[in-house]
């Protein structure tokens, strides 16, 4: 309990920091709404009279657009930049001295923006979705609950990937190229831009071998009730599998990075 308190204060304070950047909050919200609206009108044109595309009716697609935006936005991509800056400018030495686990500390810190920019913007966007575009709710109460669990895993996977990329990029001079590539790949292969059912079979296969789909596609398919109840356990277990693998990867990368830092002096 005491151990948890050490980390929860990091979340509380990063939430305070996030709240001082109100302009960023509004730009996230506005660009989010614009993206969602743009996608809405594009899909409306694409559907043009067709009943269903890629297994989605237009109304399911509209729901997909809104929910996938909220899911994708839940974890904002600041972790990579913060970690690589923290190491490059040398402030990491303060973290090295403090009696905190670096990986856990960064995770709890990132939850501050998950709460402020992730959950809050998500709720606003989804409220617009429900109010104006009549998107659907979760398939049932149980599906809704399992969706929430799946979202938690999604945040953990998202964090772990960003953490690993952040640690990798401190040793390169082109952090931004690195981070942008990761962002694009993960948006695309997660199903954040278009549902994975639209992918050609080979790409579909690849997408399901990689962890990205577990970040967006998995929770949404639960939300939409596209997965039979008995299969949901599999989806959640697969997410858990990625959480464990990626968390361990991050653990070893920090061992590698901190050894580098303490031997070469950053």
């Amino acid at each position: 309990m005491k151990r948890l308190k050490k980390y929860l204060i990091l979340t509380e304070q990063s939430l305070q920091v996030a709240m001082t950047y109100r302009v960023r909050f509004f730009t996230t919200m506005v660009t989010g709404l614009i993206q969602v609206l743009a996608l809405y009108y594009i899909w409306k044109v694409v559907y043009a009279g067709q009943k269903s595309l890629g297994g989605y009716t237009l109304s399911e697609m509209v729901t997909y657009i809104f929910i996938s935006y909220a899911v994708r936005n839940l974890y904002t991509f600041n972790t990579e930049r913060k970690i690589s800056e923290n190491i490059r400018d040398g402030s990491v030495i303060i973290d090295l001295i403090r009696p905190l686990n670096y990986q856990l500390a960064r995770f709890f810190e990132s939850l501050g923006s998950v709460i402020f920019e992730g959950i809050l913007v998500g709720i606003i966007v989804i409220a617009v979705g429900f109010g104006i575009f009549h998107i659907k709710g979760p398939a049932s109460f149980m599906y809704g609950t399992l969706f929430a669990i799946s979202l938690t895993f999604s945040v953990l996977i998202n964090f772990s990937l960003s953490y690993a990329v952040g640690l990798l990029s401190f040793s390169t001079t082109s952090i931004f190229g690195f981070i942008n590539a990761k962002r694009f790949i993960s948006n695309f292969l997660s199903g954040g831009l278009i549902p994975l059912t639209f992918f050609p079979p080979w790409l579909h296969k690849i997408a399901f071998m990689l962890p990205f789909h577990a970040m967006v596609s998995s929770p949404i398919s639960i939300y939409l009730g596209q997965i039979e109840a008995y299969q949901i356990a599999n989806v959640l277990l697969e997410q858990l599998f990625w959480v464990i693998i990626l968390w361990l990867a991050g653990y070893f990368m920090w061992a590698w990075a901190s050894r580098k830092i303490t031997i070469h002096g950053g």
Partner: protein, 338 residues
């Protein structure tokens, strides 16, 4: 005399080498750098040994790039030595970094421990949680800090709105918050005005007197050392050139002064000052400026000024103590002979 306790910090032949990738200039250089890397090694700390006992106040001084920060980083465990041994309170810092962290407080003058965007008090709260400081100790310490460092009115301000001196006082208080046995201060007075400097000095002395906190401090201001420390370790190019009492240094160099003289006459190289007493050396001469170094024990200040007045049309004179840099230079060149 009672038998002295064992040293709290013990360092033997401590050495740190940095590897620096060698890069030639320009595009070709960048391409070469992609494919092969050659390294130069820089020996930043070179077989340093010392013992520091509980409650000591030690000044660790030397020129820019002498290896001070590198030593402090090894003592705090954030750098692994290339060679040699280091033990702090029975712990090898780099092997057991966080356990060592419980016993130490650190200020790196060049950077802050505090979160930029939120009020100062939040950084104190954070320390309270992560070091699990009992509420009564936290309260007691905050009272002392507000009292001695006068930071009470700063606590509600966001860190980015603090002046450098205010920020430094807060960082210093944070370092002391969990009652560490040892405090490392790497340039805690850099860029501060004299009032803040004095405030910080008296705070460090108070904490040392009340808690027997061991303090190691680096600085370029000889007055910091003079007012806080009993002992100085002087390091140059990674090697210790002096380890002993401040009094001995003062006895040796306290009588040394630097004179800056500004004159109306247009001075040319060649027509150097004539007939200066022994014990005075000319360090600069030209344009409208003369810089002299003198040892008051060998030459009388009045006599030197008299000589100058007779020869030049003097506009301004200032007299300074010799800088650490030149003391180090002198000790390094001439050695320390008792």
């Amino acid at each position: 005399m009672s038998s002295s306790p064992p040293p709290i910090i013990s360092v033997r032949n401590l050495t740190k080498e940095y590897k620096i990738a060698r890069r030639t200039e320009g595009f070709i250089g960048a391409v070469k750098y992609l494919f092969s890397r050659k390294y130069d090694t820089v020996r930043a700390v070179d077989r340093v040994s010392f013992d520091i006992y509980p409650g000591e106040l030690v000044g660790y001084i030397g020129k820019n790039g002498a290896g001070k920060s590198t030593t402090i980083k090894m003592l705090t465990g954030v750098l692994v030595p290339t060679q040699g041994e280091v033990k702090v309170n029975g712990i090898v810092p780099y092997r057991d970094r966080t356990k060592n962290g419980q016993n130490i407080g650190v200020v790196f003058g060049q950077r802050t421990q505090m979160k930029w965007d939120i009020p100062v008090i939040e950084s104190f709260r954070l320390m309270k949680e992560i070091y699990q400081i009992p509420p009564d100790i936290y309260k007691q310490n905050m009272e002392i800090f507000c009292d001695v460092l006068d930071i009470g009115s700063l606590l509600a301000k966001p860190v980015r709105k603090l002046s450098l001196g205010q920020r430094m006082k807060c960082d210093l208080a944070i370092a002391f918050l969990h009652n560490p046995k040892i405090i490392y201060l790497d340039e805690p007075t850099i860029g501060l005005d004299i009032l803040v400097k004095e405030n910080i000095r008296s705070f460090i002395k108070t904490m040392n007197a009340e808690r027997n906190t061991t303090v190691i401090l680096t600085t370029h201001d000889l007055n910091d050392i003079d007012s806080i420390c009993q002992r100085a370790i002087i390091i140059d190019s990674g090697k210790i050139v002096y380890d002993g009492s401040i009094d001995a240094i003062k006895a040796r160099f306290g009588t040394h002064k630097v004179l800056h003289i500004e004159v109306k006459d247009n001075l040319r190289q060649g027509d150097e000052v004539v007939q200066l007493p022994a014990g005075v050396t000319v360090q600069e001469f030209g344009e409208h400026r003369i810089k002299l170094h003198l040892n008051k024990e060998a030459a009388s200040l009045a006599e030197v000024i008299q000589t100058l007045i007779e020869q030049y049309n003097i506009v301004d004179i200032s007299i300074e103590d010799v800088s650490i840099e030149s003391i180090v230079k002198q000790i390094y060149q001439e050695g320390w002979h008792e």
